[in-house]
Symmetry: C2
Subunit: 288 residues, 2 copies
């Protein structure tokens, strides 16, 4: 996994702009928001799902970077004063604390835009149909019927009572859809058949939920030195989470159950999917 | 022109989401930011440039709407407190004044994302190569080397002295690139040859600059009842504009000269480009 992450870092670093133009501060903010930390969960899913279908590594790396640009833009905007108002991310000042707030808004906008430029480029896949597919799928996963819709629900959850079903939907939109796109990107790049595509989709939705529940647990009993952010933020904001609704023990059991369920979806791939299975178990056991 | 604008309104209205889901407020903010006013300059350029190459109207309308989504997202983010901090746009409260600031940030993000979803969809053009071309070109025009880069420069222009060359570059990035993409979209959709594509590009860059100089003039001597925004905002912010650098008379002459120059690029199309020529003259004579 470390080797994959290193390759992804290099791809991100290579793709992001860097110059001494007058507007260079914008590029610096984009780089700051994308480099230096991050688990690179989504890129890892792209790389591993691509490996299952023999996709060229350089193509997969571009898609992995594009998805990470979208993920990082969402964090930059999420951290803004009008949103979560976070000062720290991965143990460092957030983009709007390191730069100006306006620069942070623009850096997020530019990263989101750049993701689509990277996907539509010939270097990402020789078949333009596949590229269009990638663009449309990423847009759906990240847009108002996906991640941004989930962020909207997340804001509302601070003021309104959400039932457990509504929380599940919120999390599926906010983090699940982009994780699902990441895990199925390899199938799109490799023009896989529906059975294999759906196996990855099933895996990703369970994984995404397990990931989110673990995040909620870490918000309660994580070590700030490891997570890089303060403890108890959700509770402070009065946000209903899986943990506040189910209790710590049941939430933990649910996360582990989901991780096992995620792995079973991958049986169709035999041992070739072992790393994806290990990832699912790591996701619920991680301390950061 | 009125008929085209009406068709574009209908296309935008049809494409934007609308629902009674919990996150429906997000959709409302997206609609509010896109509908009800706006000159629809960019969509008009898409429709007219498409007509030159016999592009199907329904395809052109989708591209016109997508570009307007990007334009409207940029206005929503530009108006935010951390950016221009504007309360009024087109005589109505700006999106963050009508909704919450967080909702405005998300509505902008969702509109930008949706633009790429619309372009990548099969309904936009039967040839996936053309769709990829549209996605990549829009991303370049709107991203850190285009519109967002220009917005970054615009923020810096409040604190730094910019020479006339730097102001020209700023405006080319901030508004010129998206206008150029709009005017060349028809050529991309119609798979035009380079000579016709370049004619439209030349037209668009001159038109964009003429448009911006006229905007700067209206900021000084426009009628707030017609422009829908207060007079003298640029000067108040200490922003260098074409008018502050050249003086009112020279700026007005320059705008008219650019409009004529824009028209000459279109001679290659004979009288089929008459509406685009009339548009260039309207752009420098408008009062709003």
């Amino acid at each position: 996994m470390a080797e994959t992450v290193e390759r992804v870092e290099a791809a991100i670093n290579h793709l992001l702009p860097h110059s001494d133009l007058a507007e260079g501060m914008l590029f610096e903010a984009m780089r700051y928001g994308c480099l230096g930390g991050g688990k690179r969960l989504r890129p890892f899913l792209v790389m591993e799902s691509s490996r299952l279908f023999g996709v060229k590594r350089d193509c997969a790396l571009r898609v992995a970077a594009a998805i990470e640009f979208v993920h990082c833009y969402s964090l930059i905007h999420d951290d803004l004063p009008a949103m979560d108002n976070s000062d720290l991310r991965r143990g460092r000042p957030t983009v709007h604390r390191k730069f100006e707030e306006a620069t942070a808004i623009l850096a997020g906008d530019a990263l989101l835009t750049y993701a689509f430029e990277v996907l539509a480029d010939h270097a990402t896949h020789e078949d333009p149909n596949v590229r269009c597919h990638l663009v449309a799928s990423l847009a759906r996963s990240a847009g108002s019927h996906g991640m941004v819709g989930g962020q909207m629900l997340d804001l509302m959850a601070e003021h309104e009572e959400f039932a457990i079903g509504a929380i599940t939907r919120l999390q599926r939109l906010k983090t699940g859809e982009l994780i699902a796109f990441s895990a199925t990107a390899g199938a799109l790049l490799g023009r896989a058949d529906p059975a294999h595509l759906n196996a990855l989709k099933g895996y990703a939705y369970d994984l995404g939920l397990a990931f989110q529940i673990t995040d909620d647990l870490l918000d309660i009993d994580g070590d700030p030195a490891e997570t890089g952010k303060p403890v108890g933020q959700d509770e402070e904001r009065g946000k209903a989470t899986f943990v506040s609704m189910m209790g710590v023990e049941r939430a933990r059991a649910q996360a582990h159950m989901l991780a096992e369920q995620a792995c079973r979806h991958l049986d169709i791939f035999d041992e070739r999917a072992d790393l994806l299975k290990r990832l699912a178990r790591w996701v619920v056991e991680r301390r950061a």
